[in-house]
């Protein structure tokens, strides 16, 4: 049995973010693996950044935790300075700056989703290199390759919240 327990903790993951006609729905699985071994079968990959913005983490567990911790801290300061809740675009930009400037050292793909009063529900996908792409729905993680086909067929604009949740759970 080839178990390398010193392998960096990665979250071979499936994460999804979907907008619907009232906001966004985020979904994620809960397995963290070290090589072949399941290190945590109940991990929480959807992390809160602010009251209205959450991020789905995939890739290296350590890197994504550190990035989301930093961004939460920056957003907290930003909210205090601004005097009103931060927008999803700002959160996505902060993550993007960290991801792009440290692209040689980080290995994490993130999906930022949230709601603000200016733009409504928004999803931003931030894959490995540090690109930011605003999308009506985003999928990420190693398990996402299986979902491209599903979403191509199943996605439509202006779903209700229930439809969106069902689709994510099914995926």
């Amino acid at each position: 049995m080839d178990l390398n327990l010193d392998a960096p903790h990665s979250m071979g993951t499936t994460i999804i973010g979907v907008t619907y006609n009232g906001g966004v729905v985020l979904g994620a699985d809960s397995r963290t693996s070290t090589g072949m071994y399941v290190a945590n079968r109940a991990s929480d990959k959807i992390t809160q950044l602010t009251d209205n913005v959450y991020v789905c983490r995939s890739g290296s567990a350590a890197d994504s935790q550190v990035v989301s911790d930093y961004v939460r801290y920056f957003l907290h300061q930003h909210t205090i300075q601004l005097g009103q809740p931060a927008t999803v675009k700002v959160s996505a930009n902060l993550i993007r700056m960290l991801a792009y400037n440290n692209k040689n050292m980080l290995q994490t793909g993130l999906i930022v989703g949230g709601w603000d009063k200016y733009e409504g529900g928004k999803i931003y996908g931030i894959p490995l290199g540090g690109t930011v792409v605003e999308q009506p729905f985003a999928i990420g993680g190693s398990g996402s390759s299986y979902l491209y086909g599903f979403f191509d067929q199943a996605w439509k604009e202006n779903m209700t919240k229930e439809e969106a949740e069902v689709k994510i759970i099914y995926a």
Partner: protein
């Protein structure tokens, strides 16, 4: 033409310079020198009001003490967690320390695992180390919520024993640490499932003592020069 690089004296801290070279050597087939790994099984478990830790590690206790003095409050488990996390992340996994951190603070009992690369998980029961798979199998089978203290101790001991007997890297005895609110109990050698079976009743005497061949005493006072500096007091 002047040199563009300057010889900078090495600053403190971890030097990653050799890591690339080591990687290259390993790729070329050189066997890396093996560290003395303390193959271990460590295990943590939350029961009702408190939790256990069967192998304690207090790397950041001094930092926590300073933090306590500064804030005037009792330390929290997540403070220790963040300190350890930052420390391990900055070494990018080269400090091979996998930890189970637990404690009881004002917010209640907490149990966290910390991996060498700096990622953390928060769980009701956790195992780490070479025997972690064996111990985790016991936990997954037998853990339930609302355990009493004695049930918890028994379960943890069982999990560690499973690590001891089934993992080649773990062995000998079980140490348990029970932490409750305001009180900790370190049960060293709670179980000794591997006693020495044959102990000679006569005891052991080593007849041949080591011979002393030569004695040479070098008083260091002659090597060290002490100069009195009569200068002025330091002024700001």
């Amino acid at each position: 033409m002047s040199q563009s690089t300057v010889d900078v004296p090495p600053k403190g801290g971890f030097s990653f310079d050799l890591c690339k070279r080591n990687d290259m050597l390993i790729q070329k087939g050189l066997k890396a020198p093996s560290f003395l790994k303390t193959g271990t099984t460590i295990v943590g478990l939350i029961f009702k009001l408190s939790w256990f830790l069967s192998h304690c590690s207090d790397m950041v206790s001094s930092q926590l003490r300073l933090h306590r003095y500064q804030t005037g409050r009792d330390s929290r488990v997540i403070t220790a967690l963040t300190l350890l996390k930052k420390h391990l992340f900055s070494y990018q996994g080269h400090v091979s320390a996998a930890l189970v951190l637990g404690g009881v603070d004002i917010t209640g009992p907490h149990l966290h695992t910390i991996y060498p690369h700096g990622s953390t998980d928060t769980l009701p029961f956790a195992t780490m180390g070479s025997g972690s798979l064996a111990a985790m199998s016991v936990f997954e089978a037998k853990y339930k919520e609302g355990l009493t203290r004695d049930e918890g101790i028994k379960l943890v001991a069982e999990a560690i024993c499973s690590g001891i007997f089934n993992d080649l890297g773990s062995g000998s005895n079980v140490d348990i640490c029970v932490i409750t609110k305001g009180n900790k109990e370190y049960l060293r050698n709670y179980m000794e499932p591997n006693p020495r079976t044959y102990v000679s009743s006569k005891g052991y005497s080593f007849t041949k003592k080591t011979e002393v061949l030569r004695t040479k005493i070098t008083p260091l006072m002659e090597r060290v020069e002490i100069t009195e500096v009569t200068g002025e007091a330091m002024e700001e």
